[in-house]
Symmetry: none
Subunit: 226 residues, 2 copies
DNA sequence: AACGATATGTCGTCAGTATGTCATGAGATA
DNA sequence: TATCTCATGACATACTGACGACATATCGTT
């Protein structure tokens, strides 16, 4: 049940960059539909039901405003406008049509992503499931379930929070000290070796994906995509 | 996902020097946008979304304060002011407008860089990845990973901290004594020759980039850009 | 409360790796 | 040439992390 996202933008590079970012970062959270001209966008927007739309204003064919208005007649899917150099007028017009947020080019894709997530969360009443993926491992922060290659696996609490910490910092080497601080918190009257052992048990639980948890001798552990 | 940085400064030499320093030192960490007059800066500052701004106060067109005020209406990106006149008045005015730090000319570029990183780290909640580059070698202090020509290399703990010490003092010749003190710390009951040996092993690990680790006969070692 | 099941921390051992030491020789320096 | 400095290879040892086995702690069920 990924969220359906429509991105409308006439610059192919930007369209691809944004689309890729959502697919990469969201890892299964989004189903992305794209359009690069107004008429195509209008057809898709009124045809399918989307959870979020990102619309460029200046488009060949219908404008972003037209698309927004057409959609608003049907339902109230959240809309983010993208606009080239910030004339306040067109932004105001955007708010009249009922957009929920806007960004002025050039913008940071990460920023756009953050806004999208926030908007979606508000629209769904905080019910957005946030899945994080790392290679074959998928961790769902909301349901607290972990999958390896789409097969759900059994994992206990300590292992879960350790895995979460690893994945949230994927790529980075995490020292035992920082792992203890973040995963064990105040219960700091524990032996360093618990980390080793929990890592070991985590690897057992992860089965085929065990290899993704790398040991960096003398420094700590890290998780990688393969 | 580099951090977007806007630098506004009307002296072309200084503008280039600062911009270059960030690009060199940061190695992919920054995406730098520059402007040399107030109006251009105002357009860019309000147009794009930046993670950090460095603003000169005295500018043709709008002043640094104007730019800061305009930005603060939209979001709260951290701002560092550069000012020629060290008069307390204009500095105070800077803080009223809501700048996060300031520097009085002439200043050291390295100093500015350090302030920028600190500010960015605070704004992002400590999530800034710090990459340091030296020639073909890239060392990431956060992930503790080392790359040679964008290829990740295997490196052990002692070699890692030795390389870090070399790179943080790139250009300088480091004596065995100072290397021992910084990399080995308290374990000072070791032979001087461990340094030689660790340097040797480091060179092996660095492969093609081995040549960047220079021997300075009679004095010690240093790392260079080529 | 009593019981069992599971989760979690601790310990000892072992193998692999990292690291320190030494001997030797090449090259620089005087 | 004599001497000093560093590079290199070989070796010894210390260290680190993996693993198995065990001890508690926690939790749910009866």
């Amino acid at each position: 049940m990924p969220y359906r996202l429509l991105i409308v933008e006439d610059s192919p590079e930007l369209l691809e960059a944004v689309s890729d970012f959502f697919l990469e970062e969201g890892a299964g959270l989004w189903e992305v539909v794209t359009a690069s001209d107004g008429n195509d966008a209008l057809a898709k927007a009124t045809g399918g039901s989307f959870d979020l739309m990102i619309l460029d204003i200046m488009l060949p064919g219908a404008s972003g405003f037209d698309i927004c208005k057409a959609v608003r007649r049907k339902d109230d899917c959240p809309v983010i406008f993208i606009t080239a150099l910030g004339s306040e007028n067109s932004i105001l017009k955007g708010y009249e049509t009922g957009c929920d947020d806007y960004l002025v080019k050039p913008f940071s894709t990460r920023h756009l992503y953050a806004k999208s997530l926030a908007l979606l969360k508000r629209a769904k009443g905080g019910q957005v499931s946030e899945e994080i993926r790392c290679g074959d491992i998928t961790l769902n922060k909301k349901t607290m379930l972990v999958k390896v290659k789409d097969r759900e696996i059994q994992i206990n609490s300590r292992e879960y929070f350790l895995l979460l910490f690893l994945i949230e910092n994927k790529g980075s080497v995490l020292t035992r000290k920082s792992i203890l601080e973040h995963v064990w918190g105040d219960d700091l009257d524990v032996n360093d070796r618990v980390v080793d052992n929990t890592i070991r048990r985590l690897r057992e639980s992860l089965a085929e994906a065990a290899g993704q948890v790398k040991t960096v001798i003398g420094r700590g552990y890290r998780i990688s995509e393969d």
